[in-house]
Symmetry: C2
């Protein structure tokens, strides 16, 4: 069954129609910064055009959104990077405008679903997806479905404590993985260490040039990531772990992944560990995952 | 459907017949220390007597065992506290002797299942069970079933890293929760702090008497437990967490649980957290959980 996936981000709205596991139509537009009504108008115009032009019968719509979702009412409680976007009844509004069932999903969970079914974790019975970018997010997939947990907080590897008493995280706790290994944390530590403003891409440039401070900073982040992955292995025991996001792709690449893999094995001596793979779908993961979420669990038991 | 649950421990073999969620027959015997054949003989004799005398038709047998299990072949790879018990085909041997299907389950997972269905977590959609005794074990239940993970390593909260670079754990890694908060770790640290041999029960006696060193030692363990529970909340997000084992029951009791609860909330500021409850089934959890495991997942979707 063909479904429409919409990936609502802070700077762009991307969407695509997925038919038999292939994207048969794609489009995107800038995210209006002027409030929820303009965001709605853009999404609905893009979606209507997609339904008209995709050439297949679309039966449901999935939307990946940042921030917490009230799944019972289809409401986005807030979207951290979209101005004036709070308590928005996204599900019901889109259902009314498009005349199709609409499913909301957290954007990291949508990407997890996409990598599980059609990306780096395809064929696995369970997978953990982790995205390391400005922040660190993630999602868990078991039996082909996102595991949401009791309060929609699963797969939040970024908020596992890896350095007790360490830096205060955006979430308010100390020493979270995100507070020591995210792109933002790396830029903070690099700017301090070099006593000048250093961006994450600049840090990774120096790391590739084997600058000693950069080696120490990036090596530390890889170590914390490995430590948190080992924790996840002992609690949830996934078959495959997929790493995505700017720090892994644009930043560190395969050499960084190898450091993470080494630290992961070191923190799980005597334990069996998941295969650690780079995400394959890149930016498309959001759209593909939203479309997969719309297919519903019953119709897609991988 | 009535099932027989057998709890194979290092010092005793306990068993019971569960019918309509009630134990209608119970028995136990000392675990032979003379090898697998004598363990078999004792288990089979106890089981036959149970089948004869329970007064209900038993249709399947579940066995909770310590140590890793090869689920595909029904083999116990080894049982840490039972001499000469290695690569034992427990499942096939019992099936042959009793003429009933036999299901093996890890003992902590069996207890998790029992507390989920008939104990402190009944009614919850998901639960994490943690036992704090000599060591720290656990199990995860989702949708009424134990989640085994890819390598049978789920719910191993005892081996989450809580103190990077801390004491070397029995598993070979540093700073595991078990290495700083288990009964054995507490006895080690108390014996050092008091410069004399101090057992865990003695430590908790001093803790109840508000001895400063004991307050520091036990408070530290509660803090690490809370930290690890917060990690579990962010990765697996259970609805209910059940704490059992000697340190929680005989040792610290409700006051200790309150300290753990405080630390849990402190390490998860801004997050929603599971209800933290004391285990209700005590020693019966092993037998009840083994019997529940024998009922099979399909016939028991809570």
């Amino acid at each position: 069954m063909a479904t429409l996936g919409i990936d609502l981000g802070g700077t762009k709205i991307a969407l695509g129609v997925l038919d038999k596991d292939r994207l048969v139509y794609s489009a995107r537009a800038a995210t209006p910064q002027s409030g929820a009504e303009d965001v709605f108008a853009t999404m609905i115009a893009l979606a209507r055009e997609a339904l008209d032009r995709a050439g297949v019968l679309v039966r449901a719509v999935g939307v990946g959104t940042p921030g917490p979702i009230d799944f019972a009412t289809g409401t986005v409680r807030f979207a951290p990077n979209i101005p004036h976007f709070q308590d928005v009844p996204l599900g019901p509004r889109l259902e009314e405008a498009l005349g199709l069932p609409v499913v909301l999903e957290n954007d990291a969970n949508a990407a997890a679903l996409a990598e599980h079914h059609l990306g780096a974790a395809r064929g696995a019975a369970s997978s953990l997806f982790v995205t390391v970018s400005t922040g660190i997010g993630g999602g868990l997939v078991v039996g082909g479905r996102v595991w949401h947990g009791a309060f929609g907080q699963t797969g939040e590897l970024g908020h596992v404590t890896v350095l007790p008493g360490g830096p205060v995280c955006g979430c308010g706790n100390r020493g979270c993985l995100e507070a020591v290994a995210s792109g933002r944390a790396l830029a903070r530590d690099a700017s301090y260490a070099y006593a000048e403003a250093v961006t994450t891409p600049q840090l990774f440039e120096r790391w590739r040039a084997r600058d000693p401070k950069a080696l120490e900073l990036v090596g530390g982040a890889a170590g914390y990531l490995g430590q948190a992955l080992a924790d996840a292995q002992k609690l949830f025991d996934p078959e495959v772990i997929v790493l995505g996001g700017g720090v892994v792709h644009g930043g560190g690449g395969e050499a960084f992944l190898a450091e993470v893999r080494r630290a992961f094995a070191e923190h799980a001596r005597g334990w069996r560990i998941a295969a650690l793979r780079r995400a394959e779908l890149g930016e498309r993961a959001g759209v593909v995952g939203a479309a997969l979420a719309a297919q519903g669990a019953g119709e897609r038991s991988s």
